[in-house]
Structure formats: C-alpha cells, structure tokens
Amino acid sequence: MAGSIEVHGLVKRYGSLTAVNGINFEVPAGSVFSFLGPNGAGKTTTTEILEGLRQKTDGSVSVLGLDPWSQGAELHRRIGVIPQEFRFFDKITPREAIEYYRALFHTGADPKKILAQVELLDKIDSRYDTLSGGQKQKLGLALALTNDPEICFLDEPTTGLDPHARRAIWEVIRALKRDGRTVFLTTHYLEEAEILADRVAIIHQGNIIAAGTPQEIIREYGRPARMRVNGSPELADYLARKLGVQAAAEGGRIEIDLHRKEDALRVLFALDASGLPWDSFATEQDTLEDVFIRLVGRMDDGALKSGAAG
C-alpha cells in the first residue's frame, strides 16, 4: 500500500455549491501532511470526508485501505481525531475522559502516560471547564491518542493558543511522527506547516493549487532570495550601475534580488568598493506564508487558472 490516505477525483457538492472540485493527493504512511487553504476553501469538508463524518459526492477515497463512510466503525478504531474547537463534558477530568475512551476502545491506555505525553499531567484531576484553551486542546490530543491510532487527524490544533502552548503541541506532533504515525494536519499558521510538514497541499475554492514539500512550493512559486542593506539613494544608484540589477532605496533600505548564491558575494564586494556608508545587511527568502498569500491572492484576482497544481 503506497499511502495511508489516497484521494482521487474527490468531489463534494452541497446542492448547487461545489465545495471540493475533483482533488487528488496521497499521504505516505509515517509522514506529516499539511492541508492548507483559506476559510471556506474545502479544507474541513475534505478532512471530514476522510474521517468518515461526511459523505463524498464523487471520486474515490481510501484511508488505511478502508472506505471512510461505509467502514467508519472499523476506521474509527484505527484513527485519532481532534476536531476544530475540541469540546468535552464540562464536569469531567482528563483522567476520567481517558478512562472513558479506554473503555470505549477496549484498550489498556494509561491516563498518566498519555497525559504526560501531551504535558497535561499536572491537570489530570481538574475538571474540563476549569482548563485553559491550550489545556483543553491538549486533552483533545490525548484522547485522540488513547486508541494508539495509525493516523492522527489534527484540524487546526493550535488555533487560539499562546506561543508556548503551540510549541508544546508541535512537540507532540513531532513525537507522533517519530512513533511512525501518519499525521494529517490542517492549520491556519503556515509557519506551523513549514516547520512540521513533510508535504503540504494548498486548496483554494475546492481545487488544489499547489502541492509538494514546503521547499519545493517556495522554490516554484516564491520570489527570488533578496539581500537588504540600509543605505542612501546614492548607494542604490551605485549598486544598480555596478551590478546591473534593480536596486532602489525606500526609507533608507535597499533591496537587491539574488538569482544565484554567488550574487550575494558580488553585492558585498560592490558595497565595499562604493566607499559609501551602509550597515545591517541581511538576506531574505520567501516563507511558505508569503507564497501562500501570493498564490491565493493571484487566484482571487483570477490571474491563475485552476489546476495549476505542481
């Protein structure tokens, strides 16, 4: 079996609205796959179809070799899911919640061990309604692990969390991958996908507009790397003449595109040779977020046709 998750020509229509318009992707077993897209792009619909919570309109979907909708009961024993905005019974403690799931799934999971894994051991006997947002989300993650799942579906697991809690969740996700589990992660934070994901797919208006490793996507759709120095307009003119590149000073900052690695050296030599004052040079590269915003923005402007997936 090539992938834990295989999706071919998946279509979901709600009446006349097409939420997912024939998408394809595969998630290899043991990898972290991040599914990105603006709100309403079809992310949650696709995720819910994979989890067996929603019925597809057309196409084929296989998760662990199962049809999520018709074989949901078996699938649910083998996957773990944290839905967006995880909610649980107000008066129940994390220990009781895990004991509950353990009884439902007939596993021997140890509440202490699982809660230690998500760094929630100190709240083991605190009621759910007294937990903070981050602690609640960690409990959701702990419950998703109770049945020792082969695939974890994490739907925006860090939305609304403070930076510390987010990093704690990232650690758990890295540990999941180390354990050999497949992780299917949807997120609003592109930085998160860039750090954690082996592969990402960007969905927009029901179509996948880019897919690959974060570096591949940045290379394909991003702008060239840039060098930035602080200096006067005279310096900018000098660099433009000397190097034959675009260089303009804006508010005392000069940006020069770097098409090859060696360009950085040429810029530094030219700076030294100019005899003009300059300081604080830095190189800059597009992040996944820059690429995402540009791609989605271009799609919204109608500049790109659908199906431009790489």
Binding site: L53, Q55, H76, P83, F88, K91, I92, A103, L104, R127
Partner: protein, 370 residues
Amino acid sequence: MNLRHIGADFRIVSRTYLRNGAALFFSLIFPVILILLFGAIFSNSGSTAVGLEVLNEDHNSPVSSAFMNALNNTSIVKVSLVTDSSVTPSNFAAWLGQNGYAVGLVIPDGFGANFSEKRPTNLTLYENPEDPSAAGSATGAIQGVASYFNLAAAGGSPIVALGPTEKVGSQIYTYIDYLIPGLIGFTILTSPMFSMVDVTNSYRKEGIFRQLSLTPLTRAEWLTSRILWYVLLGFVTTAIMVGAGVGIFGAHVTLTLGLLPFLAVGPFLFVSLGMLAGSAAKTPESAAIIGNIITFPMMFLSGTFFPVSEFPAWLQPVAKVLPLYYVIDGMNQVMLFQNTGRALLDLLVILVIAIVFFLAAIRLFRWRDE
C-alpha cells in the same frame, strides 16, 4: 449493545449530574419542596368551615344556644356571636359589610319561647352576593339544623340518617396519598425531559456528538446509559418523596414491588421522548419550545396534582392520550388500590409507547451529517 460501553458512559452521565448543583437541586430537592407545598396547602381541610356572624336577640335562651351549638356541629359553618352592643337588626347588614363578613344570621327575640310553644319564628340570613358559595353552605347548614329542630318540636325521630363518611379506596386516604404518586410521575416526566431536550441540542451544537461518533459508542448505548441513570434517579426521588410524605404528613402509601416497573418504564419513555424532541429541533430555542409544548400539558393534565376524574368531562379524554396519565394511573393502582389488572394494562401502554419513542429517537438522531 456493549455493556462495557454503557457502563463507561453511565459513569460520565452520573458524574456530570452529581457535579452539577442545579441539576441535583431540581431532581432531589425540588420534589420535596413540591410535597411540602402541596401537602401544606391541601392537608388541613378542617379550616374550610364558613364563618357565620350571629346576632342573637333572644338573650339567655337555652334554645338559641342549642341552635347555635347544632350549627357549629355541622362543621359547615363556624358561629361567632356578635358581642358589640351597638349592633342591632336594623344596622346589622351595614355592619357585616363594613367588617367584610360574608354571612350573618339574626335570631329574633322570643325564638326560645316560640319554640317551646310550637309557634313559628323567622330567622333572617344576610349574605354577600360576592361569595355565593359561603352563602350556600350557610343556608344548607341552617336549613338542616332548622329541620332537625322542627322534627324535635313535632316529637318525631329521624328516619333517614347519614352515617360516618368513608373515603374512596381500600383504606382511609387523604389528599396527600393521591399527591405522592402524582408527584413521582411529575418528576419522572420533568427531570429527564428538560435535561434531555437541552443536552441533545447543546451536545450537537458543541460538537460533542461528533466527537462521540468517532468512538465505538453507538447511539443506542448512549441513550441506554441515560435511561439507566434516570431510572436510578427516579428510585432515589421516589424514596425521598415517600419518606417526606409519610414522615411529615402521615401519608398512607404501600411500597410494593409493583411500583418498580413503572419507575423503570417511566424514565425509559421520557428520556427517549426528550431525545426525540431535542433532535427534531434545529436550534436550542426551538428545542426548548418543543420540549415545553410536550411537557407542560402533561405536567398538569395527567393527574399529577389533581385526579383526572375531577376534570371536566371534555378534558378527560385529553388526559388519556398523554403517556404520563398511564404512568400515574398505574402507580395509583399499585400504591393505593391494589388493582393489578388495571396496573398491568397501564404498564403495557407505556411500555409500547416507550419502545416506539426509543426506536424513533435513535433512528431520527444523527451523530454525523450526510
């Protein structure tokens, strides 16, 4: 149906409930308050006698004294003698009105002498038209006593007489005895209905059902653990209410095993109905409305506070289409009248309704969207 799943879910339900002060108050303390309230209002029936102001112009006459005593003994009226010497037959009517009395009687001078010599005397009754029932009671009492005096004066003895009054049923029952099965029915109805309608809707809104749909727990198991919890709660509230009724008001209630099937099938029925109502509604607001539309008529029309036989004839068939009627009637049959045959029929009716509601609830109810 997996017993381990039901057991695990039961622990969640019971903990959620026991840790929720408001829920606990309404299911355990509220029934006791109802018993105390209704018991106190209806159990002291001795004070229902109508006050009768008597202006006795026939001073120091043993006959007028005997007549007033006889009126008191009817327990229908309570005589109070007018002692204010400024009150005369001519200003008596005004005096009654000023002091807010409903009925007054004037015994004229010479009443005793006339009685001894078998000469007629006219007693004058004053009544307030705003209180016709007091006037009616007083008229009846006075006529009854007057007839008795006439008979005595004629030297006869009564032929038809009314013996001591007996209560309906096999023992001596008071209002509180009827109230206890009614209030048990009331709590069996209200505590699952209000909470299930709310829980079904809010769990769906909060995504808790979605969460549960990703576990091996089935809808039937989920509903069953709730039914079991409300059955247990029903046993506890029944014990509390019977204890309060017997301990405080001296109620006569026989606790037989025959009560158990009603305490089990009752919650089975109303938990299922509550879930059905909650899942039929799209929003919490409409869920509350649907819940109230179902619950309120049953709360008052099923013989909870008053026996259905005291309802107007046109209203009685309405009571008999309400499921709670059969729960309460069945409990009355086993707790008060030992009428097993009718109790079994009642039990059959609610069992069939409960099974239909249960199946409809798990069929209509969806964990997940299509």
